[in-house]
Assembly symmetry: none
Homo-oligomer: 541 residues x 2
């Protein structure tokens, strides 16, 4: 049986940016576009060219993607031709193969918000779509407020989407803009549109999560015949967010009847990268990943109930609806039992440490991790710090050098030209091979900018590590994340530092303290020690 | 038309406690039971008497509730009578009017996990339910793994639930224990059970959110005829959580066709307490409330897109599916570079600044915001910093004091007992009313812990602000968020500080710099200036 093609249209970079507190930089948009492309979505909506400088800059240096790169805009305004509408021109000029234009289909919005007649609005839709199609480019029509519009005036809402379809829109996307339509109704109205003459393989669905039904509403539209789903990574989006593609993708690939009926652009391999893709977006946004997120959350396959956990050991299918490996996630079972130990051994072997089952060090490592997690540490992403901790318990951690003390000063004052300037200065004292070494460094970079106290500490530390100097010379700090988290009864600061070297290694380390500079310094030390291990440095006895 | 009664069964205190990281104390259970009762649910499942000391203590001092207070347990084991099963006895002895027993209905689990015959299992269900009913108490039967069981062996799954029904169970609850069944299938199987002889008003539905369809699955079962919904507050529960009653309640009360067809125990007044109930649970659990939560999240009625925001000003129904007042939530129109002038004026008027349309300061404020957002600032959540920026452009920002310079030192060294300790020290120099004031403070708190450089800066700054000292005396820093973000071509640090005062005000301010201490200091200064404004402080000319 051949499976029907179902298209995924991602709007993380456009509708996703409507999330409160989210503002992507051009570089972040580039990164996310790459993630989406690797995942295998069919369309990547990049933003609204001309609407703001970031979106314009992003389209100017549009990434090369396998997915169709799409510019978003709106249908032409009344009283001018499509050719002479400057807002539409900016969208056309972005030069993408595909363009998605939003337009009104709810009579109330046409007369109230736009203040034009229904006929004028229909003509705006027709002319805009026809204009794109006439240039041999692909047109999509986002039918804003379609479901509310259909409920208020089914004749007009249908007229509006038929206008787009007849004018040559590849896709007519039914949008539940306010997020209030329940799945049952989405299905019924989608069927009515198909009955009115738009084939299902020309229809898309765009839902919002205001009633926690964005995924169910998308599925209801597919059940009714729609063949394109619009959504975002992690369900980003205005208010309660858009349909979450991170949830929809595994449902479509693993769940009956979708897995049997449809084919989507995501490969089984890419599906295994789903959890990583979700976490990567959270990293970019510095958001704490949602533990309870379906499929990809840290708790999604965590079995707390004692009865469940023991049944899981006999057969995972007893309390799991899918195998977590399929989506790159992992089963979590209370660390204290047998399963916890085999998990740990797997993790250690990933770090090149082979430890036989039953080794008492395993229990010590588990205890130490629990203790540190209670203090606010996390080893989920800080794999390098995890390895150092395990090596200590295994007696396999060389003492390369010892930090005797450090001191860092941050100052803001007026300079000679009466400008306020800030400056950081760090002193680090280490003992290497029995020899004490004092280094001092300030935070001012080549452009005269103050790079802050952590940078100053890093520069001072790297300045003189004696015979280890060469080994860390190609290392640099590439990211720095700070979170306030509960450590026992007090709030503490958790710092995660990502480092990179010239060989392309990238590693993460963690530090925790009530003092954020101190937490940073600990993460720095771990980063340096891990690098020395990888460089094969040997400590003198 | 009389509306049919639909029952809500809350299991926050039992299944909700399976959430990773959640462990209620007896007092917390009391508090939550009161919240549930005030909300108006029909059943409160209190826990499993005998399973752990907390649950036993809670039942010993069972709260007086309008809702039926229910004890959870499991059906008797094979090879003993219901009267002689000690696990069942503990549940009976809790003395509640209602008891809910879980039992197996999936053939594979019966033979694999329990290791008994299907007939024995059926008899265990029958005898346990009959025993409760014979004592004149209300019995509920939670049919574990019912949907997976039905798919594997519909005859046996049906036999098992019919046994409970025939033995006198008031409710037979169909549980999608592993959370993998999609709404369509839940509806179809629920209909099949009704066809097999259990009336819908004796059927309940218990879903999990592993595919983000817990709410949709509950609605599908109700559509099919079930008349009881089991769920938890905020969707707590094992793995991805249970069906979220906080979402279901407003859907059932406000959305078609449920609002017209059904009556639930929640009053319109209680519905207005929904947001508070949700936040209260987060407070008890010390969790950050989910911003994007349907109905009750801080972003649920936040309108970021410029076009949306200006339409909302004309008529909120343009981009809102319900009035946020109905669930005790509030509309938010945040600032972002997509905002228009009308959005801006609305935001200013919320801050008590009335500016007429067309005032050129509006353009200057928007330009300034755009410029600063390009540098890495964000004003979505930092409402207080937004107000200060606007006041500056409007010429309405008093210069209360001037910071001449600051210096902060963070040091780690060995103390006399050879322990590594860290210490921060800050010096702040301000000019108030022409007078220069030097203050110094260190970061060590009452317990001897180093609170870090930002805390030291704050303490030093607050130490002597001259005649403004009293105005800031009740202010404290409650949260601190740091992220690295692109500012132009360079990475910069963005710090957001949340402050609170004794009058219950809570405000957020933002600072950006390549130097994280410097960024923190700027956010601090904004926090102090905003507080002085609110306290009606007046700067001398």
């Amino acid at each position: 049986m051949t499976r029907e093609k179902l298209y995924l249209y991602d709007t993380t970079l456009r509708d996703g940016q409507q999330t409160q507190g989210v503002q992507f930089s051009t570089e972040e948009k580039q990164q996310i576009a790459q993630t989406l492309d690797a995942l295998g979505v069919d369309y990547i909506e990049g933003g609204w060219p001309g609407a703001n400088p970031t979106d314009s800059a992003f389209f100017d240096a549009a990434p090369k993607t396998r997915a169709r790169f799409t510019a978003f805009g709106m249908t032409k305004r009344a009283g001018r031709s499509a050719e002479n509408d400057d807002v539409l021109a900016a969208v056309m000029n972005a030069g993408t193969d595909s363009m998605c234009l939003v337009g009104k289909t709810h009579d109330f919005h046409v007369t109230t918000a736009l203040g034009i007649t229904l006929a004028e609005n229909t003509e705006n839709i027709r002319a805009s779509i026809a204009y794109i199609a006439a240039q041999g480019r692909e047109a999509l029509f986002d039918a804003e407020h379609f479901f509310d519009g259909y409920k208020a005036n089914p004749e007009y809402a249908t007229e509006a989407v038929l206008a787009a379809y007849s004018a040559g829109a590849r896709w007519v996307v039914l949008c539940d803009t306010n997020g209030g339509t329940l799945p049952e109704e989405i299905g019924a109205i989608t069927r009515a549109v198909i009955d009115a003459g738009i084939p299902g393989d020309r229809l898309g669905i765009h839902t919002h999560n205001d009633t926690a039904n964005a995924v169910a509403g998308s599925l209801a539209a597919v059940d009714a015949g729609a063949r394109q789903i619009q959504g975002t990574l992690n369900g980003l989006g205005e208010r309660c967010g858009n349909a979450n593609l991170i949830t929809l993708i595994p449902i479509l690939m693993l769940k009956s009847p979708y897995a049997e009926r449809f084919e989507i652009g995501v490969s089984k391999d890419a599906l295994r990268g789903l959890t990583a893709a979700s976490r990567q977006l959270d990293d970019i946004l510095n958001r704490v990943p949602t533990k309870q997120a379906p499929f990809v959350g840290a708790s999604a396959f965590a079995h707390k109930a004692g009865l469940h956990a023991s049944a899981i050991l006999k057969d995972p299918s007893t309390y799991e609806h899918i195998d977590p490996d399929l989506v790159g996630n992992a089963r979590v079972i209370p660390m204290s039992n047998q399963a916890g130990q085999s998990n740990l051994r797997r993790r250690l072997s990933e770090a090149g440490l082979s430890v036989e089952a039953g080794n008492l060090a395993l229990v010590r490592i588990l205890d130490r991790i629990k203790e540190r997690e209670a203090e606010g540490y996390t080893y989920d992403s800080a794999q390098a710090s995890f390895e150092l901790l395990a090596r200590e318990e295994l007696g396999q951690m060389p003492a390369f050098f010892e930090v005797k003390r450090y001191k860092v000063t941050v100052e803001r004052r007026k300079n000679k030209r009466n400008q306020m300037v800030s400056l950081s200065e760090a002193i680090v004292v280490v003992k290497v091979d029995g020899e004490k070494k004092l280094s001092v460094s300030e935070s001012i970079d080549a452009e005269g900018r103050d790079r802050g106290p952590v940078n100053a500490l890093w520069t001072a530390l790297a300045k003189d590590l004696g015979r280890y100097g060469d080994a860390v010379a190609d290392m640099r700090l590439v990211d720095f994340k700070v979170r306030i988290t509960g450590g026992g009864t007090e709030a503490v600061t958790r710092v995660i530092i990502d480092s990179e070297d010239a060989q392309g290694r990238r590693w993460s380390t963690v530090g925790v303290s009530a003092n954020l500079v101190d937490a940073s310094f600990d993460a720095l030390l771990d980063a340096v020690n891990w690098k020395l291990l990888r460089e094969g440095a040997v400590a003198r006895a």
